[in-house]
C-alpha cells in the first residue's frame, strides 16, 4: 500500500453514467488485476474505493460510475487536477489458475477491473471470452477495447437493445476452464449458480478504510469472517457461502 499524489491527464464520459479518468503517478504498488485504489476527494471524509481498470508504466486508468456526489466530483476533474490516492489495495485475481480457456464475466460498473485481467491474460497468449452485461445499448462501454485485445466479446443488455437480450448468464460460453467475475451482487449470485467450474468473484461493499483496519466491510466465508477490502475483494467460489442461502 502506498499513499501518493496523482495528476489527472484526462477525464472522459463513456456513457451517460460512466467516466474514465487517466492519471499519472506512482503505480508501483499495483500488482494484480482486481486490486483497487482509494481516492481522497476534497470535502468528503471517506475515500472512494475504485477498482483498477488499467496501468501502463506511470499511467493509472480508472473507469467508474458516477453514482453520488463524491464520484461526481471525480467525473468533473480535468487535466492537472491532483488527487491523494492509496494504491495497491486488496488481493486481486489469481490469473495463474485460468487454464487454457478462461472467461470473464462483468456487469456494468464491474466491467473495468476485468479489462486489466483480460490484458494480462492476452499478454500470456491465453484465449479469453468476455461476457459483458449492461442495462441497455447506451450503457455499453469498453466492448471495443476488449475486442482490440483479441477477446471474444459477448454483450448482453436487459432490454435487448444491444447483443443478447437478458443477463450475462444467458450468454455464457461452453467449455470454459475457469472464470473471473465482477458486478452487482444479484449478478454475481446468478453466476455462482450458473457456472460449472471453479472461479473468482470480486465483491464490493461500503468501506471505511479500504485497508483492513475498521472491519466495516466484513463477509462470512467458508473459512470464517473476512474483510472484503484486505482479504478480498476477490474471493474464490469455494470460499463463498451463497449456496447455503
Amino acid at each position: 500500500m502506498k499513499d501518493s499524489e496523482f495528476r489527472v491527464i484526462s477525464t472522459e464520459k463513456l456513457t451517460p453514467t460512466v467516466y474514465r479518468t487517466v492519471f499519472s503517478g506512482d503505480t508501483s504498488e499495483i500488482k494484480a488485476p482486481g486490486q483497487f485504489v482509494n481516492v481522497r476527494l476534497d470535502g468528503f471524509f471517506l475515500r472512494r474505493p475504485i477498482s483498477v481498470c488499467d496501468i501502463e508504466k506511470d499511467r493509472l486508468t480508472l473507469v467508474y460510475r458516477a453514482v453520488g456526489k463524491g464520484t461526481g466530483l471525480l467525473s468533473r476533474s480535468g487535466p492537472g487536477d491532483r488527487f491523494d490516492i492509496l494504491t495497491g489495495l486488496g488481493n486481486g485475481y489469481s490469473l495463474s489458475v485460468a487454464g487454457d480457456r478462461p472467461m470473464l464475466i462483468g456487469g456494468g460498473a464491474g466491467v473495468p477491473p476485468l479489462f486489466f485481467a483480460a490484458k494480462k491474460l492476452r499478454e500470456k497468449g491465453v484465449p479469453v471470452t468476455a461476457v459483458l452485461g449492461f442495462s441497455d445499448a447506451a450503457e455499453v462501454f469498453m466492448a471495443e477495447e476488449f475486442r482490440a485485445l483479441g477477446c471474444e466479446v459477448r454483450i448482453t443488455t436487459v432490454d435487448g437493445s444491444a447483443g443478447v437480450r437478458g443477463f450475462v448468464t444467458d450468454a455464457l460460453p461452453e467449455g470454459y476452464t475457469y472464470f473471473y467475475a465482477c458486478g452487482p451482487l444479484p449478478m454475481l449470485k446468478a453466476v455462482f449458480r450458473a457456472t460449472a467450474t471453479d472461479g473468482e468473484f470480486s465483491l464490493e461493499e461500503r468501506m471505511g478504510c479500504g485497508f483492513g483496519a475498521c472491519m466495516g466491510c466484513s463477509i462470512m466465508t467458508a473459512s470464517g469472517p473476512k474483510r472484503i477490502c484486505r482479504d478480498g475483494p476477490v474471493f474464490k467460489k469455494s470460499e463463498l457461502l451463497w449456496d447455503r442461502e
Binding site: F44, F45, R47, G70, G208, G212, A213, P225
Partner: protein
C-alpha cells in the same frame, strides 16, 4: 531522543508514554498490520480491537456511512474472541511492538467483562485495560452499562476484583450527565477514564428511502465530534482525580494539544486512521513544530 529532552513524554496511570498519541480501539486492528507501513514503535501505545469472551461476526453490512466531516459505523464488536486474541493476535503484535498496550474489553454481562479481564492477567505487554461500557452498536450490552452511573460502576468494581492492571473506563457521550458516570467509575475504583466513544446517529438513503446502515443506527466519529469530545473531557477532568484519555475527532497535532488543554493526560486517534493510515505518525512527527509555534516546551506542562 534523550529521555530528559523528550518534550512529548507523558504518563498514564503510572506508566510512562513516549508521546500521548494512541490509536483508538477499532481503528487499528491489533496493530501489526500497520507495522507493514511504518515502525509502529513511534506510537505512545495502541488500544487494541475490542474483545469479547466469544468470537463475534458483528452486524450485517452496510456498516459504514459518510457524514459531514465524519462517518458512522455499526461494526458491532466484530472480534475473534479472547482465546484467539491471546494465542494469535497478541503474539503477532508483540513481534513488532515493544511498548505496553491497552487491551480493550467489551461484554454483554458483568460476568463476561470479568472473565475477559481475568484472562488478560499476567500476559506480557499489557499495560492497561480499557473497559468499553459505551459501544452503541450492540443490544443488551456495551452502552447499556455505560449510560447510568450505577451500571458503569458495577462493571468497574467487578473488573477491579480480577485484575491488577490499571482499569480505564471508556465512556459513552450518549448520556445526560457524563460527570456523574465518570465519578461513579472513580468511586468504584477505576484508575482512569477514556472518552468519548461515538455519538449515536443515522443516515437515510433518498433513493431507497431506507436507513443507509443495515443496523439502522451507528456511531458518529471524525472531526465533527471534536467539540463534543473537548467539552466532555473538560467536564470530566475537572470532576475526577484519575487521569483522562481524550478522544473524538482528533486528526492533527493541534487537536492533540487542544485535547490536553481540556485536561487529557493522553489522547486516542480514531477515525483519522481510516482515511489516512499514516495519521498517527504524521501527528506525532508534527507535534514539536506546533508546540514551538505556541511556546509549549513540554506536553506535560499542559496538565492542569
Amino acid at each position: 531522543m534523550e529521555r530528559q529532552t523528550n518534550r512529548l513524554e507523558t504518563e498514564l496511570c503510572g506508566i510512562r508514554l513516549d508521546n500521548p498519541v494512541i490509536p483508538a480501539s477499532g481503528t487499528f486492528g491489533f496493530g501489526y498490520e500497520f507495522a507493514e507501513l511504518y515502525d509502529i514503535n513511534i506510537l505512545g501505545s495502541i488500544s487494541l480491537k475490542g474483545t469479547t469472551a466469544e468470537p463475534r461476526f458483528g452486524n450485517p453490512t452496510p456498516r459504514i456511512a459518510e457524514t459531514p466531516a465524519g462517518m458512522l459505523n455499526s461494526v458491532g464488536l466484530q472480534n475473534p474472541g479472547i482465546d484467539r486474541v491471546i494465542t494469535e493476535e497478541l503474539p503477532k503484535l508483540r513481534a513488532v511492538f515493544s511498548k505496553p498496550v491497552m487491551a480493550n474489553v467489551s461484554g454483554f454481562s458483568v460476568e463476561e467483562y470479568k472473565s475477559v479481564c481475568a484472562r488478560l492477567e499476567g500476559l506480557p505487554g499489557i499495560g492497561w485495560i480499557e473497559v468499553n461500557v459505551s459501544c452503541p452498536n450492540v443490544h443488551g450490552g456495551g452502552m447499556a452499562f455505560g449510560t447510568t452511573p450505577e451500571g458503569a460502576a458495577s462493571v468497574a468494581a467487578a473488573v477491579k476484583e480480577v485484575t491488577s492492571l490499571p482499569v480505564i473506563m471508556k465512556l459513552s457521550p450518549n448520556v445526560t450527565d457524563i460527570v456523574s458516570v465518570a465519578r461513579a467509575c472513580e468511586d468504584a475504583g477505576a484508575d482512569g477514564i477514556s472518552l468519548i466513544n461515538t455519538l449515536l446517529g443515522m443516515r437515510i438513503d433518498l433513493k431507497t428511502r431506507r436507513p443507509v446502515l443495515a443496523n439502522v443506527f451507528g456511531g458518529l466519529s471524525g472531526p465533527a465530534v471534536l467539540p463534543v469530545a473537548l467539552r466532555m473531557v473538560w467536564q470530566v477532568s475537572h470532576a475526577v482525580k484519575i487521569p483522562v484519555v481524550g478522544m473524538g475527532g482528533i486528526s492533527s497535532p493541534e487537536d492533540v494539544i487542544e485535547m490536553m488543554l481540556a485536561g487529557a493526560s493522553a489522547v486516542e486517534v480514531g477515525a483519522a486512521n481510516l482515511t489516512d493510515p499514516f495519521a498517527c505518525k504524521k501527528i506525532i512527527e508534527g507535534l514539536p513544530a506546533v508546540m514551538d509555534r505556541y511556546g509549549i516546551k513540554t506536553l506535560s506542562e499542559l496538565k492542569k
